[in-house]
Symmetry: C2
DNA sequence: ACACTTTTTGCAAGCGATTGCATAAATTTG
DNA sequence: CAAATTTATGCAATCGCTTGCAAAAAGTGT
């Protein structure tokens, strides 16, 4: 493996000159620069990551933080697609990525601690955003940058983030159902401490209010089939005339569909259903699921771009909104007008 | 951030002594060791990754290689679960992980090149195994260790790997269908160059031969609904009496189910179906999918353990087989005996 | 108590890069 | 043409840690 000394020697200059030449320093003359570059190329020189980082106290590595393992999260391909996007732009920019995961928030925070302490990692991307997240509290204690995917809970103007316009997306979903004649529409979620769920709900509520229709919220995790069935029985007792659901993501939509399908009475009612994320689930469902696509890979890419750009001292935060798009499939039915 | 000098000073010894004490070197006396450890703890000392790696020419980082992005791969939660397992044991052992992805095998190989050249990464885990993989060819050219998840294509005895007994799993799946009275069973796959698919097929073929039943293989990617329908029409023309399918994984099973469900004639036939991986898909399908669980997280954990253990010079390879388990749900029906 | 082991420690030289500062070369100027 | 600048290079220290080797301390035997 060639070192910078080898390059310098071959180019007939000193290591310091070689280093400067390769970094495009302005004080190196054109001819020497060319010599050095040629030598480097000939030797297939690649700077040693560790040495470089040690000398510069940088790290060229961004830490990608997954949410605390609630098990269901790791069966959600959404995250992998974001990671893919992140990795794509990172490898194009000579950065590396490393993952932080944890089975509890303590463990996760600890893992992040060591990344910061030993690894000199100074840039993070959080793949999620939720209220009172111990991880961001910790990150705030250090002199590190981070960008979150999703809307930050606090300090929206001081934290860089990339997100969809989830409020609008929620509105669009509900509006789509309204357009199909539905009037009693339920918003189904699992955990409102996740910002994304809260925002989508807000959007839903917005249209519903506008049309002076009731907000009907169902928060249910479908831990098991039985609990799901139970919850729905109770739900329909209270809201017998609901005809459609906005589910906070495709997985929730499918879980709902699952229990609806398994009950003869419910099944025949043909509830309408709309999900979010346009994940593979939506294509595989039966009927195929109408869903709002949010382009996770794109989210990842944008987040990585922000994370990589050395932010100047003045600490301006960046916000990127990536557009969403409704993908129409077969889970939404037109309500026949009775009048 | 405390350095080893600080620790040494506080403990009243030299840095070298401190270093050795912290590494449990045998030549340090008990009292000094304790002094050093106490000082380190008091200062909250954590060794600098870069400096350590530079000095030892190690890297404490393992590269996790994802398969080339065929898009569908990134919608498969399977990988994320393996990563989760890997990360878990790595962070417990003070190792980091970094991901290698690529949109083409050239790009992927390139990314691995830079990891090796600049990053001094000497340990990799491949999350897949396929025939004639350019990635392993490249890895073989360097002095690096790697463990593959899945059965290696070449040199099975020289390469460390962790895998399920996929042949047996294939057998179990087919046998389960046989036990339910099926006699014309199709094996559905998408890409036989993946070792995992080949193995499962082998297992299927083994039982079928044993019972002197025909091997019926359908290789179809279901790129679109239309191509799927077309392929199945052709298929049923040739094999009209097939009553059950062993799908090479849950996703394939669901894609099949999807097109079967959408055709009135096929739908009524109630084909039996069994998948692999026991992914979230199988619970969300309707009917719920009987599937063979393979515990991807466990696969990841085992792989990481192997990758972390410094292998001695003699280069003994390790193979770990993690057991599988059939998870019975509702996609397999008993065939009524006509005799 | 002395010479001889054996056990503990510390010195100093790396690892491969970057960078402030001094020096050498090139250029300009009076 | 010598002096004063300006521009280009190289020296050497540094980042934080490890490790071979020599030196110091402690222990042994006679």
């Amino acid at each position: 493996m060639a070192t910078i000394k080898d390059v310098a020697q071959r180019a007939g200059v000193s290591p310091s000159t070689a280093s400067r030449a390769l970094h495009g320093s302005k004080i190196i003359s054109q001819p020497t620069r060319e010599k050095v570059v040629k030598a480097a190329r000939a030797l297939n020189y690649a700077p040693d990551f560790n040495a470089q980082n040690l000398a510069t106290k940088a790290s060229n590595t961004i830490g990608v933080v997954l949410p605390v393992d609630h098990h269901e999260i790791f069966s959600n391909p959404f995250f992998l697609e974001m990671i893919r996007g992140i990795n794509e732009v990172c490898s194009q920019n000579g950065s590396m990525t490393t993952l932080a995961t944890g089975i509890s928030s303590d463990e996760l925070v600890h893992n992040i601690d060591v990344m910061i302490a030993q690894g000199h990692i100074r840039n993070f991307i959080l793949l999620y955003s939720e209220k009172n997240d111990p991880v961001v509290e910790r990150l705030n204690q250090f002199d590190v940058h981070y960008v979150v995917i999703g809307k930050p809970y606090h300090d929206v103007n001081r934290i860089s983030y990339v997100d969809n316009d989830n409020v609008q997306a929620g509105t669009d979903a509900a509006q789509y159902l309204l357009d199909h004649g539905h009037r009693r529409i339920c918003f189904l979620c699992s955990d409102l401490s996740k910002m994304v769920q809260g925002d989508r709900m807000l959007g839903y509520q917005r249209v519903m209010m506008q049309h002076q229709l009731p907000n009907i919220i169902l928060s249910e995790r479908f831990e098991s089939h039985e609990t799901g069935v139970q919850a729905l029985h109770k739900f329909f007792k209270n809201y017998p005339d609901v005809t459609a659901f906005v589910a906070v993501d495709d997985m929730m939509a499918l879980k709902l569909q699952q229990v609806l399908h398994n009950d003869a009475e419910w099944k025949v009612k043909q509830f309408s259903l709309i999900g979010f994320n346009n994940s593979i689930f939506s294509e595989l469902a039966h009927p195929t699921l109408t869903s709002i696509a949010v382009f996770p890979q794109r989210l990842g890419e944008e987040a990585a771009k922000i994370a990589i750009a050395d932010r100047p001292k003045d600490e301006l935060s960046t916000a990127v909104i990536v557009p969403h798009q409704i993908i129409k499939r077969h889970s939404v039915h037109q309500v026949k007008k009775l009048l």
